[in-house]
C-alpha cells in the first residue's frame, strides 16, 4: 500500500475547492417554503410578545402553546429524516426556512429555543443515538410533545465546558448521575435533557459521556426560570441530578464519547443557532429604512443624513455577510464536509453583527428606540446573549486562530 501525502496546496486553491459548486439561489420549492414560514411567523408568533418579554417565561406566558404551533407547522422536523417523521429537507433549505421564521417572528427567544431544539438536541440524538433511541425520542421532539434541553454547562465551567463536575457512576445496569447544571436553555420546562457527565473522572475531558435524562426520572429536578437581560420569552435555568439512575440504554454514544458529541454538536449549533436571527436582522433593517425615510428633522428625512445612511449601509452589509456565512456553513454540511472553522466564523460574526445592528437601530430610532413600546430595544437585549452562549466571541476567535493553516 502506498501512503498518500498531503501536497502543499495554496490556501487560496483549497478555499476555491471548498466552494466549488456552491449556489444559494433558492429553488421554487425553497421560495414557497420560506414564504409559508414567514407568513406563519407573522400571523401566529408575535401576539403577546411584549407581555412575554415583560413577565418572563413562566408557563403562564404561553410559550408552550407557540411551541406546539411551531411543531404543527413542521419547524422541528424540517431537516429530520422522513423515517423518523421529519420532512427530510437539506440543511440549506432548513436554515432558509428558519431565517424566514426570524424575518416574520419578533420573538427572538422563541426562535432561539426552536433552533436549540433542532441543532443541540435533535441533531446529536440523530448522529449518536441507537435506532431505538431515535424512534423513542425524535418523533416527540418534532411533534411538540417533548421539549429538549442541552445539559452541558455548569456554574464553574463556562467556556471550559469539559471540566465539568457532574459524575455518572456505572451501577445496576445503568448509571447514577450526580451534579448540577446551569444556564440551560429550556431547562426549567424540559421533558428530556441531554446531560453530559464524567464516567471516568481520571480521564478528564476524555472521560465524559452523554445521557438522555427524562423529566420523570427520580432524582432529576428542573430549576426555576432565571430572570435575564433578554430572550425572556423562553426559560433558562439549572438542572439538578441527585442519585439519578438512568438505564444503560439511555447513554448516548459510547462511553467516553462525550467530548466528540460535544464537538460535533457545537459544530451544528454554532453554525446554525442564529439562522432565525439573520432573518431578524433583515426585518430590523426594513424597519430602520422605513423609519429613516419617514422621520424628518430639520425639514428632511433623517436617512438623508450621512451618519444615518452610513449606519443603514453597515446594517445591510451585516445582513449579507451573516447570510453568506450561514449559507456556506449549511452547504458544507450538506456536502458532508468538515466545518469547524466555518461554524466558529458564523457564530462569531452573526452574533456580533446582530448586537451591533441592534445598537444602530436604537440610535436610528432615538428616544423611540430606547423605549420598550416598539420593541426596538428588545433586540439589543436579546442580541447580547448571543455574544456569550454557544461559546463566547473570545472563544470563537481562539478557535478560528487555531484552525488557520
Amino acid at each position: 500500500m502506498q501512503w498518500r501525502h498531503i501536497s502543499p496546496v495554496k490556501r487560496s486553491e483549497r478555499m476555491a475547492e471548498r466552494s466549488e459548486g456552491m449556489s444559494f439561489d433558492p429553488t421554487d420549492e425553497q421560495r414557497a417554503l420560506c414564504a409559508s414560514a414567514r407568513e406563519f411567523a407573522e400571523s401566529t408568533l408575535n401576539a403577546g410578545l411584549a407581555e412575554r418579554d415583560r413577565h418572563g417565561a413562566g408557563q403562564e406566558a404561553g410559550w408552550r402553546g407557540l411551541w406546539q404551533k411551531c411543531a404543527d407547522f413542521g419547524l422541528f422536523g424540517l431537516c429530520i429524516p422522513q423515517e423518523y417523521g421529519g420532512a427530510g429537507h437539506s440543511t440549506l433549505t432548513t436554515i432558509m426556512a428558519l431565517e424566514a421564521i426570524g424575518r416574520g417572528c419578533a420573538d427572538n427567544g422563541l426562535t432561539l429555543g426552536i433552533n436549540g431544539q433542532i441543532w443541540a438536541v435533535l441533531k446529536p440524538i440523530l448522529s449518536f443515538g441507537t435506532d431505538a433511541q431515535k424512534r423513542k425520542y425524535v418523533p416527540g421532539l418534532i411533534d411538540g410533545r417533548l421539549v429538549g434541553a442541552h445539559g452541558l454547562t455548569e456554574l464553574e465551567t463556562g467556556s471550559d465546558a469539559m471540566s465539568l463536575k457532574t459524575t455518572a457512576e456505572a451501577c445496576d445496569g445503568g448509571y447514577v448521575l450526580n451534579g448540577t447544571k446551569a444556564y440551560i436553555g429550556m431547562g426549567p420546562d424540559c421533558d428530556l435533557a441531554l446531560v453530559f457527565a464524567s464516567t471516568t473522572p481520571d480521564h478528564g475531558a476524555w472521560g465524559v459521556s452523554a445521557f438522555l435524562v427524562e423529566a420523570g426520572d427520580a432524582g432529576f429536578e428542573r430549576g426555576q426560570p432565571e430572570e435575564k437581560m433578554g430572550l425572556r420569552s423562553v426559560p433558562l435555568g439549572g438542572l439538578r441530578l441527585t442519585d439519578c439512575w438512568v438505564p444503560e440504554d439511555r447513554r448516548l454514544g459510547p462511553v467516553g464519547a462525550g467530548m466528540s458529541i460535544f464537538q460535533h454538536t457545537m459544530e451544528w449549533e454554532r453554525s446554525f443557532i442564529f439562522s432565525s436571527h439573520v432573518g431578524a436582522m433583515a426585518r430590523q433593517l426594513d424597519e430602520c429604512v422605513a423609519y429613516s425615510r419617514n422621520r424628518e428633522t430639520f425639514g428632511t428625512p433623517i436617512g438623508e443624513n450621512q451618519s444615518v445612511s452610513n449606519r443603514l449601509a453597515e446594517m445591510r452589509l451585516r445582513v449579507e455577510t451573516s447570510r453568506l456565512l450561514l449559507y456556506r456553513a449549511a452547504w458544507l454540511k450538506d456536502m458532508g464536509r468538515p466545518s469547524a472553522l466555518e461554524a466558529a466564523m458564523a457564530k462569531l460574526h452573526i452574533s456580533e453583527a446582530f448586537a451591533a445592528s441592534s445598537l444602530d437601530a436604537v440610535r436610528i430610532f432615538g428616544g423611540r428606540g430606547y423605549l420598550s413600546a416598539d420593541g426596538i430595544e428588545r433586540n439589543l437585549r436579546d442580541a447580547t446573549g448571543g455574544l456569550i452562549y454557544s461559546g463566547t466571541s473570545d472563544i470563537q476567535r481562539q478557535i478560528i486562530a487555531r484552525l488557520l493553516d
Partner: protein
C-alpha cells in the same frame, strides 16, 4: 493491514505529530497524548482530519475516544481494526 503497512502508518502519524502539534516534544509510540494534555481538543480535531485524509477513511464521531486515539499505538490499532 500488513505489518509493513502498520509500520508505515505509524511513521506517517509520527511525522504529522512531530511537524505540528508536538513540534519540539520528544515522544514514543506508546506515549499517552490525550490524557496527558499534549493534544487538546482542537489538536485532536486536526489529527482526525489528518488521519481521514492520509488514510482515505472516514472516522465517525463516536470513534473519537481515548481508546482509539490515546497514543500512536492506539491509532495504529484502530487503523488495523478499520482494515486500512
Amino acid at each position: 493491514m500488513t505489518k509493513t503497512d502498520n509500520a508505515q502508518a505509524r511513521a506517517a502519524i509520527r511525522a504529522y505529530l512531530a511537524s505540528s502539534p508536538l513540534a519540539g516534544h520528544e515522544f514514543q509510540d506508546s506515549d499517552e497524548l490525550l490524557l496527558s494534555g499534549l493534544l487538546d481538543s482542537l489538536s485532536v480535531m486536526r489529527l482526525v482530519a489528518f488521519l481521514e485524509m492520509e488514510f482515505g477513511i472516514t472516522i465517525p464521531p463516536e470513534d473519537i475516544t481515548v481508546t482509539n486515539l490515546a497514543s500512536i499505538d492506539a491509532m495504529a490499532a484502530y487503523l488495523a481494526r478499520e482494515k486500512v
